[in-house]
């Protein structure tokens, strides 16, 4: 059963090379950067000679990364240099950590930073597990037609632009909108949802959920189909009921997918939906709604301050990288699944 293989041991862990027995491959990897130089070089040469075709496949993609990803990164140097739009794209003069100090001592920055963390966390807590739940529910549906209908429909919101989604949300929550009409029905006075900071996060997260939950099931449904039916058979013979089967067979079966997506989500959690927040917030809800990206946008409209933005961008990237590396490491230690 394939799940035995889903455990991705770190490539330098003992036994990781076991599967490659077909090709004779030197074991006891000379690990980290030439602990033994002569041996390392020889190994590299051997690797190249044996796997050159494999390496050749990486040439184009690596060229892509070098040219279109790493080359423009050099432009980030403007976080440390003063950049004038229209001047040199690498900035005109060194200013050291000036821009980092500027935002570090900016109380508003820390306020929006906290908001970003909270919204990111809420999104993670709700938008990560819901597709799993939906996928599991779908997996229990017997009628093919109904299943297909639910699937096709729930993918739809993924295709709608944020402008539309925001417009629909505003309409729904208006004083005379459907939600308040329902509240009125129960004798509740209307709530001005859009104006109250206390409601913003719930509104954001639920609209995000609406937009992403269906599309998010695709990868899980794919993983579900790969679970070996024999495992269910075996579980049934052991007397497991439907619930236990789900717990002991289904969930472990999609665990690698879950963990991979969780790690990716953790890594990107600072990047909360800029456009949607911009469309949904207003000065009254800034206390909870304003995030780093919207704050930068408002700063940027006024000032076109690319250097300041680059400094904050680098800071965010660093956090993202630390998060994903830690998440990956923890996951590798605890559940044995990891991205790399």
């Amino acid at each position: 059963m394939s799940t035995t293989r889903t455990v991705d041991l770190p490539s330098d862990a003992p036994g990781a090379g076991g599967r490659s027995s077909a090709r004779t491959r030197p074991k006891g990897r000379v690990g980290r950067m030439g602990r033994n130089r002569s041996q390392g070089r020889r190994t590299w040469r051997q690797s190249l000679r044996r796997d050159w075709q494999l390496y050749s496949l990486a040439v184009l993609p690596l060229t892509f990364f070098a040219v279109f990803r790493y080359l423009p990164m050099a432009g980030n140097v403007i976080a440390f240099r003063r950049f004038h739009p229209g001047g040199s794209m690498f900035g005109d003069q060194w200013v050291g950590m000036r821009y980092f100090r500027l935002f570090w001592h900016d109380p508003t920055f820390w306020h929006v930073f906290t908001n970003t963390l909270v919204i990111g966390l809420l999104t993670l807590v709700f938008c990560f597990p819901m597709p799993i739940v939906l996928a599991l529910l779908l997996n229990e549906v017997r009628s093919r037609k109904f299943k297909k209908l639910v699937q096709s429909v729930s993918y739809l919101p993924h295709f709608l632009s944020t402008v539309i989604v925001a417009g629909v949300v505003m309409q729904f929550l208006a004083a005379d909108g459907p939600v308040n009409q329902a509240l009125h029905h129960f004798g509740h006075s209307p709530i001005l949802f859009i104006q109250q900071p206390g409601w913003f996060r719930s509104i954001y997260v639920s609209s995000e959920l609406w937009q992403t939950v269906g599309w998010g099931t695709i990868l899980y449904l794919a993983a579900l189909t790969s679970i070996d039916d024999n495992l269910y058979e075996a579980a049934r013979i052991d007397g497991a009921n439907r619930w236990k089967q789900t717990w002991h067979v289904t969930l472990p079966g999609i665990r690698p997918t879950m963990v991979t997506l969780l790690i990716l989500n953790i890594g990107t959690f600072m990047a909360v939906g800029f456009e949607k927040i911009l469309l949904l917030y207003n000065p009254l809800t800034y206390p909870t709604a304003d995030v780093v990206s919207t704050y930068l946008y408002r700063m940027g409209v006024v000032s076109n301050n690319f250097s300041y933005a680059a400094a904050i961008g680098l800071f965010e990237s660093l956090i993202g990288l630390v998060l994903i590396v830690s998440a990956n490491r923890i996951s590798r230690r605890t559940v044995g699944t990891s991205l790399w």
Partner: protein, 308 residues
């Protein structure tokens, strides 16, 4: 790593192996489940049906907020207006071309790299993965990217859209996980039969991976279909723009251009349902193509059996 057999992503395998004894509790669950999912369908559909209804309604009803689930003051005037606009079709054709070319380029590069990364014993694999993952977090700014594309002479061509976005790291990792889950034995057997690496990838691995390939094509195609920023940035003429840019400009124009302020010359009165119409027209093709992609997944199912 992930075992991602996207086989039959969307297609069902028989959800329940034959001969299962259903308990009463399970039957109750089935009913509840059906209700929950019906709720999901309704909640999802309501706004969408509303958009479709708006697209067929007349201005007055839309402005007074009276359009709900059914069109009011049914008409197709705006559809006619949009569909007889030659620019709309030019841009539509552009979208198709850009999506196809960019998806092909993306698939080739992503597949090649994912396959390399899936070889756990490859020396330097960690570095190769790191090279990709690092770019998820660090990127260059707008201006360096623009200078790059301009310097390479890619502006005003499909390559300006296809090349800078050729690999999505997310898709790369998903695909790598899938390849890692494939049985090694087949590849080993093929190697013994004398196939080189390219042959193994082409003749053995890819045929086994139709499901993930189809999923990735869908992911890439949808993202290219909906993308607008690259085209907006790198195209200098309106007849090179994809329909998303057209749509964005139209929505922006119709929500704002009527509130004429500083410049009286910007007056433009677009129908209130033009947004809805354009959304329907641009989303429709994806929905039309979708069932065909879905059917393609079916072939993945049988192949999935090899695995077990």
């Amino acid at each position: 790593m992930v075992t991602l057999d996207t086989n039959a992503t969307i297609e069902d395998r028989p959800t329940q192996p034959a001969g299962i004894r259903t308990t009463r509790g399970y039957r109750v669950f089935q009913v509840v489940n059906g209700l929950i999912l019906t709720g999901v369908v309704i909640a999802t559909l309501y706004p969408i049906v509303n958009i479709v209804a708006r697209s067929f309604s007349s201005d007055g009803y839309i402005r007074s907020g009276k359009v709900n689930l059914l069109p009011r003051g049914f008409n197709v005037t705006t559809y006619k207006a949009v569909m007889t606009n030659s620019m709309f079709w030019t841009d539509y054709r552009n979208t198709v071309v850009y999506t196809v070319v960019a998806t092909v380029v993306a698939m080739v590069l992503t597949t090649a790299y994912a396959y390399v990364l899936s070889k756990r014993d490859l020396r330097g694999r960690g570095v190769l993965v790191g090279v990709a993952v690092f770019t998820m977090f660090f990127s260059g700014g707008l201006i360096p990217n623009y200078v790059l594309v301009t310097t390479l002479g890619l502006k005003n061509s499909v390559w300006a859209i296809a090349l800078p976005n050729a690999i999505s790291v997310f898709n790369l990792l998903v695909m790598k996980a899938f390849f890692e889950g494939l049985p090694v034995e087949l590849e080993e057997a093929a190697a013994i039969d004398g196939l080189n690496t390219y042959g193994i990838l082409w003749r053995v691995v890819l045929p086994l991976s139709k499901a993930v390939l189809a999923t990735m094509v869908l992911f890439y195609a949808v993202s290219f279909w909906n993308s607008w920023f690259a085209a907006f940035l790198y195209m200098d003429h309106s007849d090179l723009m994809p329909v998303t840019v057209y749509l964005r400009n139209l929505i922006y124009g119709s929500t704002n251009a009527t509130s004429v302020g500083a410049s009286e010359a910007d007056a433009s009165a677009l129908g209130a349902n033009i947004q809805a119409v354009t959304i329907v027209l641009t989303t429709l093709p994806i929905l039309v193509v979708y069932p065909f992609v879905q059917r393609y997944f079916v072939s993945g199912v049988t192949l999935g059996a090899v695995k077990g």
